[in-house]
Symmetry: C2
């Protein structure tokens, strides 16, 4: 009987792979993934059968991985971050009844990004994707308002693309209706990959041009402060 591993490899760099992910990849005879993710595997992908496709073919990749596992192969489908957050775990499990599937968790982009900034998350937080490809815009707006009113640290995924240049700015303006303009904001592009770029700014001073789809934006809560290049959210209310 075949097996299908759904693997989050972390942000990209091999130093963020878990032992569990490495073992699953080594055990597999076939690797399925978006072409750039396969490249992150480097030598791990050597001697494996590879099935890689471009960005818009996610469901095709899922179906291919499932059918290869049904045929008796040991298959790893890889994605960055954690496979269970905006990743492949859901689409695979929705379609793979009867297949032996194992989800292998990974370091998600928000924590990879946070590590560069110091300790910006630390306490209760909300993660929101600003992509409206699969989610109605009014749902996104509702969630941003709720996260703001709950004083959560907020991590924005997919904050800005060519097709939706103004999504992040619209959401930041919603935050500014109630949050302090000088609330710290950390912007990390390509966290855990080559060429990582880290910017520390405030809610009223974001340079939107530096934000793209591969950027994670972390907005502090009412207690978050900065010290030099660091963004720190206290773990509790004991010090502030």
């Amino acid at each position: 009987m075949g097996k299908l591993y759904v693997i989050g490899i972390g942000p990209g760099g091999q130093e963020y792979f878990t032992e569990k992910a490495l073992t699953a990849i080594k055990e597999s005879n076939i690797i399925v993934g978006y072409t750039p993710y396969i490249e992150y595997l480097g030598d791990l992908a050597k001697d494996k059968e590879i099935y890689s496709t471009g960005m818009k073919s996610e469901i095709e990749r899922c179906e291919k991985a499932i059918s290869l596992a049904r045929e008796g192969n040991i298959v790893s489908i890889v994605s960055t971050g954690d496979a269970g957050l905006y990743g492949m775990a859901g689409p695979i499990l929705e379609r793979s009844e009867g297949v032996n599937v194992e989800v292998v968790p990974g370091v998600s982009a928000n924590f990879a990004a946070a590590a560069y900034l110091g300790a910006p998350i630390m306490h209760d937080f909300a993660t929101i994707s600003l992509s409206d490809l699969l989610t109605p815009w009014e749902v996104i707006v509702k969630r941003v308002k709720a996260a703001r009113d709950g004083d959560f640290v907020i991590c924005f995924y997919n904050p800005r693309s060519k097709g939706r240049k103004d999504h992040l700015e619209k959401m930041i303006n919603l935050l500014l209706e109630k949050k302090a303009p000088k609330t710290p904001v950390g912007i990390v592009k390509d966290a855990g990959r080559k060429g990582t770029k880290v910017t520390l700014t405030t809610l009223d001073s974001i340079d939107y041009e530096e934000v793209d789809m591969l950027t994670t934006v972390i907005v502090g809560n009412s207690k978050t402060f900065t010290r030099g290049e660091l963004m720190i959210t206290p773990r509790g209310y004991e010090n502030k």
Copy 2:
């Protein structure tokens, strides 16, 4: 000059360690941590100087790690999950000005737990600790209501302890005021450690006696469904 690594080792099992965490631990001459976390290191802690203390001595451990790094040692302070979520990154960075600190991200408990349930998170989510040791109870209540009204998947940390047996039940009752009683709930005790226990239930049927401090509770959003033993939140609104 010394160095201080603040390391999230993931849920506990060594298969969840990242390469980066392994490298940092190997490079260190001193390891600091809560006694059970040091045990998770197994042979990695062999031949190292160890400074371990009990549960309530977190700030003491931080101060010790910082002073050892100031003396020129290469120190790893380890905690489970990701060090930047209810972990040591904040307390360390608040106290370590001038010390060379590096935060090493890890697999957080919510994603480790989620992998056992299938794909319960997948989309926008909020993480909330129900411990009121460091956070006023009214802030916790405000956040639970906000996460509920924003239809986030909700991950509860520290859901229930001997000293606060009714915290989770009170919060679930708040959720039931607006969410469907049959909303799926996943309960994972000791995720990624020996003796992991997974329960799939619904908002109106939680057995609170099986929940303790080492349990992660994941409550679905309005689209979450179950199939057999799996809890799945669709990644988007395309299928439902």
